[in-house]
């Protein structure tokens, strides 16, 4: 047994009910639940574990919790990270920005602050160019295309949006949209499972608070109209996600919102989702105090009878936890990603001028990563930098057992704050991932 050691990539977390330990091997994706006694030994790297019966040691070896003293574990992270990245970047993941214009004046809008392209709308020639180009690219394009803005579903652009969706449909694409949810009725004929199959909209609180921060130009209220439109979308069998942008000012709105969703009957609808996300974890753009995921999480933990656990409805937690839970239930490997987001795996936003961006937080700024030309995409160096930013190439990340869950942290944050983008930024990811694992 002296040629064995504890792997440096084992994540050990006491489970939610405190009846045992949930254990994950961070580069092999193995998941096990051990009783409190054995789990504690793994957690503490207690070498008295070698007094356990041979079949236990054999099992721990097989699952990678124990490994050879000579094992080059960093190399494993690098290799597995490469496999994940190669597969995740096989396709382009496209979002189209028909305009940066918007009919809302949300008090905290980052685009209002950063975006230098507030006026202008895509023309149909550009739409044709986009789809004919996507057809000719060096790699496949994901069949789900995002619509982003500004506000992509503006009534005054209804002909254009219909043209995008109908043209895209001819090429086999389906669409989802991030919309403020106000002009929905103008798009009734294309909001259905075959065309725009999913809409994410935003409610920042119940009526009074929401109308204070997310109002129509001229400070007109928007809450009732959005609620009416969510019902309309659900009736059309369109999937709906409601996002809530959270700061210290609207924390107490969250339980009221959940209650409201319940009263509307939305929580029983399988096409309905909601989540709470902090304002803003990337941009530092105005006087709104930075708020983090953990603050929202801790606040929600005090409520005992929520229909969803906090881990299912708070920003990054929900994203990671729901995937982990699904993989666990399906008996899959718990290996999520070697990049932090789609911007590192061929995710591209194409704006109305044909310029390309890797990240929704950077659209309309100077951080253009390329542009669309007849039948091809022309990339700048920054695109390739984003594309190669994986945990496999970041030394600090390769040494981290959380690497293949975290993916190295937000690239836009590094860009905005002028960090070296090849440095991982960890933020609170360790505690977030631990909490997700605790709840598995």
């Amino acid at each position: 047994m002296y040629n064995l050691k504890f792997s440096d990539y084992v994540i050990v977390v006491k489970n939610f009910k405190e009846t045992g330990y949930n254990v994950i091997q961070g580069y092999l994706g193995n998941f096990d639940v051990f009783d409190l006694r054995l789990g504690k030994k793994i957690l503490d790297k207690d070498y008295s574990i070698f007094d356990e019966p041979d079949h236990v040691i054999e099992y721990l070896k097989k699952r990678g919790y124990l490994c050879s003293v000579n094992e080059d574990e960093e190399k494993w992270v690098e290799k597995v990270g490469d496999i994940l990245h190669r597969k995740a970047s096989e396709k382009y993941h496209i979002s189209i920005i028909p305009t940066y214009e918007c009919n809302f004046q949300c008090t905290y809008c980052y685009e209002e602050y950063y975006n230098a392209r507030k006026k202008g709308t895509m023309n149909k020639t550009m739409v044709d160019k986009i789809f004919s180009t996507l057809e000719k690219l060096d790699r496949e394009v994901d069949s789900n295309i995002g619509l982003f803005g500004g506000e992509p579903l503006l009534s005054r652009n209804e002909d254009l949006i219909r043209y995008i969706v109908h043209t895209g449909s001819q090429y086999g694409y389906h669409f989802y949209a991030a919309s403020n949810g106000f002009d929905i009725e103008y798009f009734d004929d294309i909001l259905n499972p075959a065309n725009i199959f999913m809409v994410q909209t935003t409610l920042d609180g119940t009526s009074e608070y929401h109308n204070l921060v997310r109002y129509f130009i001229g400070k007109k209220p928007t809450f009732d109209k959005i609620v009416q439109n969510v019902n309309r979308l659900l009736q059309n069998n369109v999937k709906v996600t409601i996002r809530t942008n959270v700061s210290k000012r609207n924390l107490d709105e969250l339980p009221k919102l959940i209650e409201f969703y319940y009263e509307q009957g939305w929580l029983k609808n399988l096409n309905f989702n909601y989540y709470f996300s902090p304002l803003d974890n990337c941009a530092n753009y105005n006087s709104v105090k930075i708020f983090n995921q953990n603050d929202i999480y801790s606040y929600l933990e005090q409520f005992e009878n929520l229909p969803n656990k906090p881990v299912e409805i708070v920003g990054i937690y929900s994203n990671l936890y729901r995937r982990m839970k699904q993989y666990k239930e399906d008996g899959r490997l718990l290996l999520l990603q070697s990049e932090a987001c789609q911007g590192n795996r061929n995710g591209l936003y194409i704006d109305y001028k044909g310029d390309l961006y890797t990240c929704c937080n950077l659209v309309g700024t100077q951080y253009i990563c390329g542009n669309i030309e007849e039948k091809k995409l022309i990339f700048k160096d920054s695109y390739w930098c984003w594309n190669k930013r994986t945990v496999s190439v970041m030394e600090k990340c390769r040494r981290c057992k959380y690497a293949l869950f975290c993916g190295g942290g937000c690239t836009a944050k590094a860009v905005r704050n002028e960090y070296d983008i090849m440095e991982g930024n960890c933020g609170n990811m360790k505690s977030i991932i631990n909490e997700c694992i605790r709840n598995l």
């Binding site: 070896k61 597969k87 993941h93 994901d142 789900n144 989802y176 490997l333 290996l335 932090a340 789609q342």
Partner: protein
Amino acid sequence: MENQERTIEELEERLLEEIESRDEFGGCFIHWY
């Protein structure tokens, strides 16, 4: 890894197969589960 239940090649094969059937879209801004 010696005596481990999978080699890197086996892990790769299984992982690629599993990723193929992942049904995920959106990203850090748009969530759907």
